[in-house]
């Protein structure tokens, strides 16, 4: 039977805010999902001509190539300071950082906390995959107790390396942030919730409400040495026990 193109309904298309440049993420990696969700959100809110991405050092180091809006690459950990400089000079811009757990919660701890504490009107998307992806699977401050990583080959030992850092909780006890939430991506429901959280965070920035942090529990199939399906199971069964999901602050 011949297909009538006119009668077909488009149920899935590439967000306008994405360029044609191919992602460099590994197959099955949640980074790709979040990158796409952000592009979709910017489309929905009609912010393409005002948005600036501050890319970190990590697996998303060149993500400014993938977005069809202005972008800048920040040194490892300093994305929130860079975002502060941009937003203060031009408050009309919608500025977000996108950072891994090494970037945001280890080397960039000071910049991340103080931008939150100043209540910078920016959106921080924090990919907590409990590992250093780009450098090949070393321990992150978020690595679970007992979890294997190349730099804790017998599993993370709290006597040696402390405990998984709950960054959203740290930021949530500050007075300035307006929205702090932790989400995940291990099933369809979670993906939709993450989408709503990211949209809300951007919406608050558009309304000049202030600082938002969206922490997302994500996977790293390559360095966890698991299939994507297994990583989702691990996130749902293990990781959420250390990192409870849900909104921690919503002051609006």
């Amino acid at each position: 039977m011949p297909v009538n193109a006119k009668s077909m309904v488009k149920v899935f298309e590439r967000p306008k805010s994405l360029t044609d440049v191919q992602f460099t993420y590994c197959p099955g990696c949640h980074h790709g999902l979040v990158t796409r969700i952000i592009a979709h959100t910017i489309d929905e809110l009609g912010l393409q001509e005002r948005t600036v991405v501050v890319a970190p050092v990590g697996c998303s180091v060149s993500m400014y190539e993938w977005f069809h809006f202005d972008g800048i690459q920040a040194s490892h950990g300093r994305a929130c300071a860079v975002a502060t400089g941009i937003k203060r000079v031009n408050p009309h811009l919608i500025v977000f950082t996108y950072q891994g757990d090494g970037d945001l919660a280890a080397i960039g701890t000071a910049e991340s906390i103080h931008a939150a504490n100043r209540g910078e009107n920016i959106t921080v998307v924090f990919i907590n995959n409990q590992i250093y992806g780009m450098t090949g699977g070393q321990m992150a401050p978020t690595t679970l107790i007992g979890q294997w990583a190349t730099s804790c080959p017998t599993g993370r030992d709290p006597a040696l390396a402390g405990y998984p850092i709950r960054f959203a909780e740290i930021v949530a006890q500050l007075d300035a942030p307006v929205y702090v939430t932790r989400q995940s991506l291990y099933d369809q429901k979670r993906i939709m919730a993450t989408k709503r959280a990211i949209k809300k965070a951007f919406q608050y920035q558009v309304e000049d409400k202030g600082y938002s942090l969206v922490e997302i529990l994500a996977n790293c199939p390559t360095n966890w040495r698991m299939s994507p399906v297994e990583t989702n199971r691990r996130l749902a069964d293990e990781v959420v026990k250390s990192y409870p999901l849900g909104d921690l602050v919503d002051r609006v």
Partner: protein
């Protein structure tokens, strides 16, 4: 220097307290808001330089200031600014080092300022004022050069300049709105293709091409922007080479030497990068010795020796740890070579 920054059209200042430059930060805190500019006391020098990186990328004339240990912390950021071709003005009110050192005047950061300091193959224009009026002039110039060549520019001062008072006449303020547009800045991709600011180029061919292009700009700077002052060199048989506060002290030594019949002159680099190699080379052809005087163990003297080669003697006299040479110290040293 803070007022000069504002008059140069700087509308974004980020800093972290450190002696001897706190007055600069405090001045910015009080006066930036009056011109609608941005002042943030950052959580560290690292944060401050990265705020500069963002603010500069957004198109504003930006500035940060610090003193030696704080400048060390900024080095990665300076390298990123250079790699992303972003203009920014930095002031280093140099203090005694290494380590925490002390807060006395020193020149121990010459290598760091002129030879890299941060990682990678980059250059930074470095201006070395000797007086407060000149500091103002050079801060204004720093913003011009930074924008013209899209490079970070450092004003290399020392604790003496940082704590001195002199009457000054301020130039007319620059209107930031009247400055040339920056089509590369991130201002929102409205009616144009997205702008991207980055120093990350995974492909060696691409990184190489960018670096080669930048090196050409550096070459242009070396051809066009060398600044120096010669004082009493026309008939000199001996010359002191010194920059910053030390040059000022050396001027007095020149007067004292001349009153005793010693034909002493002074060459003072104003840009220490690009360094005035050729005027020194020219001098070296007609004088017996060029004595370099610094408040360090001998840093600029390496550039002087590069310029002079074996054509004249190139002794060095230095004071360390925040001690300041007196005109008499310099004269005594000069006399060793005057005979």
């Amino acid at each position: 220097m803070a007022e000069a920054g504002i008059r140069a059209g700087c509308r974004a200042y980020f800093g972290y307290p450190i002696t001897p430059q706190n007055e600069l930060l405090e001045y910015m805190a009080a006066h930036m808001p009056k011109v609608g500019g941005i002042f943030i006391q950052a959580e560290s020098e690292v944060a401050a330089i990265n705020m500069c990186y963002g603010a500069s990328a957004a198109g504003a004339r930006t500035m940060t200031s610090s003193s030696s240990p704080g400048i060390s912390l900024k080095m990665e950021g300076i390298s990123y600014l250079a790699g992303a071709d972003l203009p920014t003005v930095l002031i280093n009110v140099v203090r005694g080092g290494p380590g925490l050192g002390n807060i006395a005047p020193a020149q121990g950061d010459y290598f760091q300022a002129t030879k890299g300091g941060g990682h990678g193959d980059y250059r930074m224009i470095v201006l070395a004022p000797a007086t407060i009026p000149e500091s103002i002039e050079l801060v204004m110039l720093a913003f011009e050069l930074a924008d013209r060549y899209r490079v970070p520019v450092m004003v290399l001062a020392d604790g003496m300049l940082g704590q001195m008072m002199e009457p000054v006449l301020f130039p007319e303020p620059v209107d930031p709105a009247a400055l040339p547009a920056k089509p590369w800045a991130i201002t929102g991709a409205r009616g144009r293709r997205p702008n991207r600011i980055s120093s990350y180029f995974l492909d060696p061919a691409e990184l190489s091409a960018r670096n080669v292009k930048r090196q050409r700009r550096y070459q242009q700077i070396e051809e066009q922007e060398i600044r120096y002052e010669e004082h009493e060199t026309a008939d000199a048989t001996l010359v002191v080479a010194a920059y910053g506060s030390v040059a000022r002290i050396a001027r007095t030594a020149v007067r004292m030497a001349r009153s005793e019949g010693i034909k002493l002159g002074l060459l003072r680099p104003i840009t220490v990068w690009p360094f005035p190699y050729s005027p020194l080379r020219a001098l070296s052809r007609r004088v017996d010795a060029i004595l370099t005087v610094e408040m360090n163990a001998g840093q600029m003297v390496e550039d002087v020796r590069l310029a002079v080669a074996e054509r004249a003697e190139t002794p060095f006299y230095g004071k360390l740890g925040g001690l300041v040479p007196t005109p008499k110290d310099i004269l005594r040293e000069v006399k060793r070579y005057a005979s």
